[in-house]
Subunit: 256 residues, 2 copies
């Protein structure tokens, strides 16, 4: 593939590393923020750390970041955009495992089998930071803080994976999803009341193990009840308390 394509269609993996001076803007909300940003680590360590981080992208909506069974070598932090991970079951139906918004980390579940256990695709124009896991682990050998960060991130992912286990009504699941999404955006300084649900209804439905029609009906019901206002993919939570009450059936498993 030629390098002379437009920026939008070139192979995202071939994009040159960029230093666009946006560390403040992006890295401050990244889960690795405290690792990458110059505080607490020696200049030497930081230099080595920066050598093992690579900016990749942009990926356009629909482009694959990794495929199930690809050999594992790196985890990815979302800098901008949106990523979903999913598997395909034996009947060809897609099961969405997670959505990743800027600041969140993808791929820690691939460490053990040394292969990615799922597929990851961009749902929107997406920029990523690629962290070589082997190099990270080596560095963690010398930096207790980094080791601890990795342990914590992985531990958190266990709890996150357990989220929603149990049989809950469609309304409870969706309420929990809305609140969770708002909370994650709020971490980056956005409103937790007024936000965008940038993924397709079908993907939300798959993630919650519901039919798209059911999601539609739940949205209708929440609108009718005045609990939230939906306009296309925009959401405004009018009665967060009502949502919290609905979602309270779902245990939180140590997620903040």
């Amino acid at each position: 593939m030629s390098q002379l394509h437009t920026a939008d269609t070139r192979d995202p993996w071939q994009a040159p590393p960029v230093d666009d001076g946006d560390a403040e803007r992006f890295c401050s909300t990244c889960v690795f923020g405290r690792v990458c940003m110059p505080q607490g680590f020696s200049k030497d360590a930081l230099n080595r750390l920066h050598c093992l981080i690579e900016h990749v992208g942009p990926f356009q909506a629909g482009q694959t970041i990794f495929r199930i069974n690809d050999p594992f070598s790196a985890v990815f932090s979302v800098r901008a955009g949106l990523v979903k991970t999913f598997v395909i079951d034996d009947k060809g139906r897609e099961q969405v495992l997670g959505f990743y918004t800027p600041g969140e980390l993808i791929g820690l579940d691939a460490v053990y089998p040394s292969r990615y256990p799922c597929n990851a695709v961009a749902l929107d124009t997406t920029l990523l930071c690629r962290f070589s896991f082997g190099a990270m682990a080596n560095l963690a050998q010398e930096l207790p803080g980094l080791q601890q960060t990795l342990f914590q991130l992985m531990s958190k992912d266990i709890s996150a994976a357990l989220w929603g286990k149990g049989d809950y009504s469609a309304e409870e699941k969706f309420a929990g999803f809305l609140l969770d999404w708002g909370r994650r955006l709020a971490r980056r300084g956005f409103s937790a009341r007024n936000f965008n649900l940038p993924m397709a209804r079908t993907d939300i439905a798959s993630f919650l193990s519901l039919a798209p029609e059911t999601v539609s009906r739940v949205i209708r019901k929440l609108s009718d009840d005045g609990v939230a206002r939906f306009d296309r993919r925009e959401v405004e939570l009018l009665k967060p308390e009502a949502l919290r009450k609905l979602a309270s059936a779902i245990p939180n498993l140590g997620l903040d």
Copy 2:
């Protein structure tokens, strides 16, 4: 509480550390086996490692090992017996999160919040190894192999937590559960065809997000179809292939 009770009712936490020379028997199947057993580590490291491992128990069936929100300091490896972890939702209903059979590790999901995110109780007379996580992490700082083991175990737990996510029929879920349980027993050298399901039907039901009645009916159906034979809690898989076909709907997410 007096130390003069019978062995069976004394506080399990007060049991003195034992060196019953059973390392070969128990530790060889433990997930930490290669860590605890003298291979690849210096004598010094091993001594320090053994200092941070404590044998606890026996816990009798029904006894609590830790409670949700207890401050986290250690992970536990099951030496003998059976443990279940669970949370209680806001309506007082129990959601079982996992069962742990000898050789398996409990508590890695507690690292991040530094509190246990669930309860753990013994379902049978249970012996545990208690590993101080802080001490482990310190040691991992010097032993790359130990650090890698911890990363792998945590990564595996992420995939394990994701198991069964998706909407599957009661029969598919139960078939997957049977095969998974057999596989885990097989790791310890037991038969994967002929084994015991030592937990209550209610607990299996909760784990699979089914009603106990539904589990009963699925068992009945599998019996009628000649797929497996059930006698009380004993199981014999007569047509493992049929089970595998049923369970094939559930993606395996990198579990062996």
